[in-house]
Symmetry: none
């Protein structure tokens, strides 16, 4: 199940990518599982097929899904967990920005760690 937030600044297609990746990681979707066709998902989400197609293209580029012509789209074999230094640098930069905002809102070290823990737990449940 994918839930979209149309008001978010995050593009719809990125939200789809993120949620499918998350489902794969949490093993709700396993290698070989079929995922809905572009049209079907587009209908389900009431968005244009182009947006879904864009998400699927990116997922295929990242080798998370595979499209088999005439058959459909499937979760790819195995996820590689490779430490990506470049990606980590980006994450750290963005985390730092958010931590700065929190600090300016009056959050101290304890508050921030508590918030992070809270978000982490919420995330594991969903």
């Amino acid at each position: 199940m994918i839930i979209l937030d149309y008001k978010s600044n995050k593009p719809i297609y990125e939200q789809i990518i993120e949620q499918i990746k998350w489902n794969v990681m949490r093993r709700y979707l396993k290698p070989g599982d079929a995922i809905p066709s572009v049209r079907k998902l587009a209908l389900e989400l009431s968005i244009t097929p182009g947006t879904v197609a864009k998400a699927y293209q990116e997922l295929e580029r990242q080798q998370i899904i595979e499209t088999i012509r005439g058959k459909g789209t499937f979760i790819a074999g195995e996820l590689e967990i490779k430490p990506d230094e470049k990606k980590l640098v980006g994450i750290k930069k963005r985390l730092q920005t958010e931590l700065m905002e929190l600090t300016m809102m009056g959050y101290d070290r304890k508050d921030i760690l508590e918030l992070i823990m809270e978000i982490y737990e919420e995330m594991r449940v969903c």
Copy 2:
């Protein structure tokens, strides 16, 4: 000193906002300090004054800076430190996204907390 990354997807005016906030938080800029005029900073950064003005206006809206008509722009006296539920929700959402990315890269709870602490300490170095 403000350094722009023209290749970043982050808008230039947001980069300016972030770096000025940063300088305020690290006490490089103190209440009452003047910041460069719109035109001067625009010249320095080789961008148009409009872009700098947009950044300054947003900073004023957030009460980080104050403009005095015909005089210039200055760091505001009191910093906010007011709880803003809406803003916090946005921050939490963005933090969750980053935490998800980390989890997908193999980070567990301990690793994440360590990373956050590391970023926090880097940030606090005054």
Copy 3:
């Protein structure tokens, strides 16, 4: 329908903000209603899209409207109704100025209250 007074000292973008707020308050625009696109309104009013965009961005910050990427702009679901101390101080200052002017024109307490009531009733006519 928005009517601009080009001779007014009030900036065009503020006039747009005010009139849209006005229409929302009088229920001519209801939550979920679409408002004209930036370009369309700009054409209608014979102004540049940038000016309309500025008005829309301020309205979005005030959570009067919501923009959905690639779709358009809509009246927000919930209207604020949150006490904003800073904003109230500004309003009081401006009201005091007008009350002073009225007093200097010979209005006493009764006259002022009558005038306020008259303006209020005019405004409430839905």
Copy 4:
């Protein structure tokens, strides 16, 4: 005594005009009373003489003060309280805008009248 708010959007010279007019109306300044020279007031307020001069010019145009060459500047003879329809229309428009803002902040008829009364009483005291 004149008190300036440098952070206000209201121009300094307008603040001076407003406060002198107010003092005249409240009879703290009576016809024939001398007011400080441009330079003296500028020194007192730590502003440039040009700004004071601008205020005095406007006050003279409105026949509230008179400049006698070589003698100084004085409060003019009698204030005419003439109902100025054009001015009243402007005041009503601005009052309506503020009332709209208050209504959108959740103020009802009673709240608004109370606020107006409160502002009116504060004004009479100062």
